[in-house]
Amino acid sequence: MPTEGLQPQNNKLVQWWVGLFQKLSAPVPTPTDTKTEITDKVDGSASAKDDAKNRLKLVLMHDRTQLSPSLLEDMRDELMEVISKYVEIDKTTMDLCLEQESNTIALVANIQVVRGREATS
């Protein structure tokens, strides 16, 4: 910190310096930033269509497979249990979801393996 070496009697001056430094170092909103903000807002309302599309896709995948989010959660837990028997996995990063490609629905699991069970024992 640049204020460290200063004397205590210069307290007010120190505060002034610190204040000025903070003001200068703080990110100043640039004209381009404001513009991004506006276009962001425009695009934000534009995504009503994408919102609908994405939510609908998800709902339909669950409808079609008759898998509710809670069932998916149960399946995730059971899968983890089984897989953990053979390999040590990172339970926090495990990701299980439904994905649709054209006409087919796939169950995609993303599991990070830490190491094989054999190696630890």
Binding site: T39, A52, L56, V59
Partner: protein
């Protein structure tokens, strides 16, 4: 034109209510009749009939489909002839009964009789997937699924398509996308036609723009497809095109573009500046 073979039986369904099944039935039927085909419309929404009002025939109904299956009258007596076209008629639903007054078997026998005399039999299905839907679908070999570009409607359409796919009798089904608003699609506020087709993976039969003329027509009991003149509403053209496609003509889809509103121009200016 009219053939001597048996008529085609098409059910119009949607799952969700209020998306325009009955309006579509009335307009597609009238559109086919306008081309010279012999058409009969069947209202299977027993207890909540509306097709008669859309056709402006509510004051002519004496007998209905339940009277026919319960043998209180002959089938021909219950057919209400359209006041505009002699080759179009309506078999009304009963207003004072419920869905259980009709069974799929009875529906089959009524339709097989009508098939001999007509080129097209259009069946207006009630909302839902219960008995009313089962009755409506029982005798059909083709289906038209009506949906609007809204989540709830598309979801229900998906369910209906799933059910139709399990019916062996249904040889093909196509989608009519109703209440499409080009201005909202333009602003990315509404799913566009391709989005819906991609999600449902279904073939498109027609696109109907949201059109206040449809409401005016409904109020007057005259299907919008029957408007004549040089400058007819877009919905009129859209329904005429659907009728033509059903009859086998290859008609390009309507261009739904509207003039770009000034707000859009401002937005595109901004995007240009940012880039």
């Amino acid at each position: 034109m009219a053939t001597k073979t048996e008529g085609r039986v098409i059910v119009i369904t949607s799952g969700k209510g209020g998306v325009g099944k009955t309006t579509s039935t009335a307009n597609i039927g009238a559109g086919l009749a306008r081309m010279g085909y012999k058409v009969v419309l069947i209202d299977t929404d027993i207890g909540l009939r509306n097709l008669d009002i859309l056709m402006g025939l509510e004051n002519r109904i004496v007998y209905n489909i339940v009277d026919v299956v319960e043998e209180r009258c002959k089938l021909a007596q219950a057919l209400v002839k359209d006041k505009r076209m002699p080759n179009l008629c309506l078999l009304p639903a009963a207003q004072t009964r419920d869905k259980s007054a009709l069974t799929p078997e009875q529906m089959n026998s009524v339709v097989s009789e009508l098939k001999k005399e007509h080129d097209f039999i259009l069946i207006d299905s009630p909302a839902g997937i219960e008995q009313g839907f089962q009755n409506a679908v029982a005798a059909a070999s083709e289906a038209i699924v009506v949906a609007t570009p809204e989540m709830s409607s598309v979801r229900d359409a998906d369910r209906i398509i799933g059910l139709l796919e399990t019916k062996e009798e249904i040889k093909n089904y196509k989608l009519v996308l109703n209440r499409v608003r080009p201005d909202m699609i333009k602003a990315n506020d509404m799913m566009d036609v391709d989005d819906v087709l991609e999600i449902l993976s279904v073939k498109l039969l027609g696109i109907i723009p949201e059109d206040q003329d449809i409401i005016i027509s409904t109020n007057r009991g005259e299907p919008v497809v029957l408007r004549e003149g040089e400058k007819v509403p877009k919905a009129t053209l859209a329904y005429r095109n659907i009728a033509k496609r059903i009859s086998g003509e290859d008609v390009p889809f309507l261009e739904l573009e509207t003039p770009v509103p000034w707000m859009e121009k401002v937005k595109s200016l901004f995007k240009f500046g940012a880039a």
